[in-house]
Amino acid sequence: MSGAGDRFDAVVVGAGPAGATAALVLARAGCSVCLLERGPFPGSKNMYGGVVYPRVLDELLPAWWEEAPVQRWVTRRATMALTATQAFTVDFRTTSWATPPYNGATAFRPDFDAWLAGKAVDAGAVLLASTTATGLLRDERSGAVCGVRTDRPDGDLRAPVVVACDGVNSFLAKDAGLHRPVDPANYTLGAKEVLALDRRIIEERFALGEGQGADFEIIGGTEGIPGGAFLYTNLDSLAVGVVVRLPELAASGRRPEQLIATLKAHPAIAPLVAGGDLIEYSAHLIPEGGLRMMPRLVGDGILVAGDAAALCLAAGIWLEGVNFAVASGAAAGAAVAEALAAGDTSRRGLAGYRTRLERSFVLADHRKLRHAPHFVLSERVQHRYPQLVCNLAEAMFTVTNPAPKVGARRALRREARRLGLRTRHLAHDAWRALRTFG
């Protein structure tokens, strides 16, 4: 299998983590593969909410940690519930995440994605940067996808298979008819500020060892708009931002940077970000709907991976995406190589992709957590439980002498009643949480 001129065994559109991994696997399998990137370099269009979990690379790139361009190794993971004046934080730290193979890392996507795409190039993939795929080419007789049109002069690229890793807006998967009608409620907008801060100040302020990082995931910090917020440490900067569901953002009349400003002014956040100078503002959509919004993953001559396939996991306590992109790209690459060897790149010939995803964590986690996105963005979880847990903590820890202590059960009953939460709500949601995350 070898390509000549504008013909390849496979064209991979998008050199993010899904596309780079698909191209890497295909090139290693001996296939000629063209990796298209519309930005001037891989990663230049990409931003995210902060943490990469690269253990997914263990098999593909052993000892990846020795060379992956990370900012900090996350050793401190906190979940905060905020009200306007209170904060309740579950703060976990472990030394086991500070040594290889680590757990999560903060990284700049323009660095990380370019590094991963470089691995595909080293393996023999042809990277075409600064090139936008403008549509699919189809075989006149069968209607199967047989390449992409690009914005270069004479820019048609022909291949029996196209792997669409073209991100959350995936015009190619939509062009192929693989997506259902788009529902804005399945999308959130992430908006982020990167704030320059001296690395020693970061390590003192967040109580971190050298090179270690903190990741704070926040609920209740978005002015009542369903979503969440985050704060994490890079080497010489902090990143702080909000993630908000589109319809409610639009209805609120609030601007994304106003939401970030409100978050940064919160009494529990302000001291952490004080003195940080804005060095980059960014925004990106996130496909948060999980299984509910997932397109068909395979068509004749085409498969879809990464954000383009909505394979981002937004499950409240687990917020992952890059690892899902990598794993889906790897599965796509392997399935395409298999289909090419068998000489069948129809939907049936490419069906191994779905089988591989079913066997991996990609669809297993999405299936297990299929109720999570909806549950996490529900009214009680977004508004009343952050308030409840904060009020309860305040009731428990405020010493009201000379009055005697209230006791936990009575305090819970009292605070729940104040928030209009009935026992059946609590029982129902406790059961839902168990079913969702258990």
Binding site: R38, P40, G124, T131, V194, S237, L246, H284
Partner: protein
């Protein structure tokens, strides 16, 4: 196979952004200074078009506040002015738009548009 990442000249559009933060930004950064922290390689032609007639009948104009780059400006006659140059290419505008066909959105030509460096 060797790689040829750039077989045509790099887009030569003006770079409106800067890799350096503005010197001593004030406590509350102006929106202009905020956007000046982002590098944009502006394409010669817009990748988004807005149908002014469709917008004049729109009562919500959700794009105006939801766009993180603040690119949509309502005009006195009820239409929308749109500036594509500092677009994050996120897609929020067409997803929150409730008037079919009012916003036509594609990706900019290869090599143009936003370039993130620290995201």
């Amino acid at each position: 196979m060797t790689t040829t990442p750039e077989t045509r000249p790099l887009p030569g559009g003006p770079t409106t952004g800067s890799r350096r933060p503005p010197a001593n930004p004030p406590a509350a950064v102006s929106f202009e200074d905020r956007m000046a922290t982002v590098e944009f390689r502006v394409a010669p032609s817009p990748h988004i078009t807005v149908d002014g007639d469709a917008c004049r009948g729109c009562t919500t104009k959700a794009c105006v506040t939801a766009c993180p780059a603040n690119l949509f400006v309502p005009t006195a006659d009820g239409g929308i002015l749109f500036n594509y140059e500092q677009c994050f290419e996120c897609g929020t505008c067409y997803l929150v738009c409730n008037t079919a066909g009012a916003i036509t959105w594609t990706y900019p030509d290869g090599g143009h548009g936003v370039v993130f460096l620290r995201s």
